[in-house]
């Protein structure tokens, strides 16, 4: 066994001098640097990391979240950043207190690639990404009512009974519908009931019930 030498990314001192208190803590795990950032400043920090010279983390490798087994521990949204030019990686985390609404600013405006990744985190953990233009469930169907599957308080087999799950899954039958968003496109729009058109005008999305 060779011990992994902790090598701190040079971005950390730079971040600390730029944002001081917004950087909550940092650590090195398996030789990879992790920076925990204050929720309110997360978008500023990520935008700075993306664009400022010397950082240039232009590639968003991944967005995900971690819910720890300890229910007291905050849920963490994790951004894997990569600088293609400098060949450097950085992991940025935002800790979200579970007693408050799980909200964080979307990075869709910085990286278009965050579109589906943030939708997946929303779908699996229930984290709301403020500013995401199309935050819908992505892997589960849009009327899925059991909650957020990757949370630790979600049992492996789900909250509902097997019979209820089967009934709901069959009733959802997503191929039989167009979503409201898709309805808004079609020439059928004119034929929609007034109430539905009003819902569309309000910007409501999801399945037509």
């Amino acid at each position: 066994m060779t011990p992994t030498l902790p090598m701190l990314s040079p971005s950390v001192p730079a971040l600390r001098s730029e944002f001081s208190t917004a950087i909550e803590r940092h650590l090195v795990s398996s030789g990879q640097t992790v920076v925990v950032v204050n929720r309110d400043r997360s978008h500023d920090v990520l935008a700075w990391l993306k664009d400022s010279p010397g950082q240039e983390f232009n590639y968003l490798t991944d967005v995900t979240a971690v819910d720890y087994r300890d229910p007291e521990r905050p849920l963490e949204v994790v951004y894997q950043l990569r600088s293609l030019g400098r060949k450097a990686d950085l992991r940025v985390k935002v800790a979200l207190d579970k007693r408050q609404p799980l909200e964080v600013r979307s990075v869709y405006d910085l990286w278009r690639g965050a579109d589906w990744l943030e939708r997946e985190v929303y779908d699996m953990f229930g984290v709301t990404f403020v500013g995401h233009p199309d935050l819908r469930r992505i892997l589960m169907w849009e009327t899925y009512a059991e909650g957020y599957p990757l949370r630790k308080d979600f049992p492996l087999r789900g909250h509902f009974s097997r019979a209820e799950q089967t009934r709901q899954a069959l009733a959802a039958n997503p191929e039989a519908h167009y979503s409201l968003e898709e309805m808004s496109i079609a020439e059928t729009y004119g034929e929609l009931p007034k109430a539905v058109r009003e819902r569309l005008a309000k910007g409501e999305r999801g399945f037509l019930k």
Binding site: T2, S29, Q80, W116
Partner: protein, 431 residues
């Protein structure tokens, strides 16, 4: 060059007098604002493709907003194959997760197995024996070849070419036979274990792979002849679904999708693992980012994988009889004979089976260059034998997210071609 070649070349659109492919100008497919909007009326129409449709390569559903023949918007619906692997992994020992990785990207199961083992080994700080690394490189490159062959064959079929499909599946079959001889399974290989491999290669196996690497280039040349200068192929692929380098980076694309747009990013070179930096191979880079360049990149990657396989086989000869596992009883089961006769070995055996591997508390992101793109496993451990979080960074999922961008302004028939060029496996998209 003979006169006949020149005549043929001049008679073939898309090929110049020297027989080299020429670029066709960007048509409506590459440019949404080319005036095609008015001529077919302004009526918008919804077209539903899938989820049961052969050209969507799995259970993918696309809802297209059409304006005449032009796609104005494309809304993909996924999740039909969602199996909750990530959740399931939180209830499994680290070695028990390996069978789950087979079933995500099931066109390259061995490469997924390798990535999982590497992630846990990085978490534990294990140093692998050289023979293990070489065998894993062989597994990864074999996976790359079979995955690209499936891509080539099915994309050919989508665009109306049946023969290359048969050629590529014939070659793929030979690798599957090798895979079966090594692991006992064609698809659910579960090849790796934390700290080593499930099994060494059987006697005489190298000769089979050597024969493959010797004869495989012939098929590649045939495919090259069939496609690269083919007017229909060029017409259907050049300028279609093009993404610039900046767009590709902004969309977080990886693998051949990213490299076809001219971005020089390959995990094997940029963040080397398994001693890839010691192998001699090139990374093909496209420049236009269209389907044609993606095809060229993937075709060239197969040549390069063949080169890597040859070098790995040479190294294997030098490492005959060397160990394939780390000598650490905390991660590798003792030999059965020892476990039955030696008390200490039996205790290790018991603890291994009952408790599994226990990495220290911490977290790791391990990215590898899979055939589809950068596959990453992000693992969080709390020191127990089951991970707190096992995140798959799925290259197919992230590459597929660019589909609406590429389809805007394309023709309906181009959607099929563009979707094929992404190279998705729905098992991995939905997990």
């Amino acid at each position: 060059m003979t006169l006949r070649t020149v005549e043929m070349a001049l008679a073939t659109p898309g090929v110049d007098a020297a027989g080299q492919p020429v670029r066709v100008p960007l048509g409506v497919a590459g440019n949404g604002d080319s005036g095609y909007r008015e001529d077919l009326g302004a009526e918008h129409m919804l077209v539903n493709i899938g989820p049961q449709h052969p050209a969507t390569h799995g259970v993918l559903r696309l809802v297209l907003e059409m304006e005449g023949e032009t796609v104005r918007r494309c809304i993909p619906h996924i999740g039909y194959l969602h199996s909750g692997f990530e959740k399931l992994g939180e209830y499994r020992h680290y070695n028990q997760i390996i069978p789950l990785t087979d079933r995500t990207d099931y066109l390259s199961p061995m490469a997924n197995n390798v990535c999982l083992a590497l992630a846990v080994e990085k978490l534990m700080g294990l140093e692998l024996p050289e023979r293990c690394k070489v065998l894993r490189v062989i597994a990864c490159e074999m996976s790359r070849i079979i995955s690209h062959l499936v891509w080539l064959g099915t994309t050919g079929i989508d665009l109306g070419a049946f023969t290359p499909f048969l050629w590529s599946f014939q070659e793929r079959e030979r690798i599957y036979n090798l895979q079966e001889a090594w692991t006992g399974a064609r698809l659910t290989t579960s090849l790796t274990r934390v700290g080593g491999l499930m099994a060494d290669i059987p006697d005489g196996w190298e000769a089979g792979l050597r024969e493959f690497t010797r004869t495989f280039p012939k098929t590649l040349s045939e495919v090259d002849t069939m496609f690269t200068r083919n007017a229909i192929w060029i017409g259907r692929t050049q300028g279609v679904g093009a993404l610039s380098a900046d767009e590709a980076i902004n969309l977080s694309l990886s693998g051949p999708m990213l490299r076809a747009s001219g971005v020089d990013y390959d995990v094997r070179k940029d963040r080397p693992y398994l001693d890839y930096e010691t192998y001699d191979f090139d990374i093909p880079i496209g420049e236009h980012g269209d389907i044609y360049d993606r095809y060229r990149v993937r075709l060239e990657e197969m040549w390069q994988s063949n080169r890597i396989l040859e070098q790995a086989l040479d190294r294997l000869e030098r490492l005959k009889g060397a160990p394939i596992n780390v000598s650490d009883p905390r991660v590798i089961l003792p030999a059965k004979s020892r476990a039955m006769s030696d008390m200490e070995a039996m205790i290790y055996h018991f603890k291994q089976v009952m408790e599994g591997v226990k990495p220290p508390a911490g977290e790791v992101y391990m990215g590898v260059e899979n055939p589809k793109g950068e596959l990453g496993y992000y693992m969080v451990s709390d020191g127990t034998s089951k991970p707190v979080r096992w995140r798959i960074r799925p290259p197919s999922f992230i590459n597929l997210a660019s589909l609406p961008v590429m389809c805007e302004g394309a023709l309906l028939s181009d959607v099929i071609a563009i979707n094929a060029s992404v190279d998705i496996v729905m098992g991995e998209v939905d997990r």
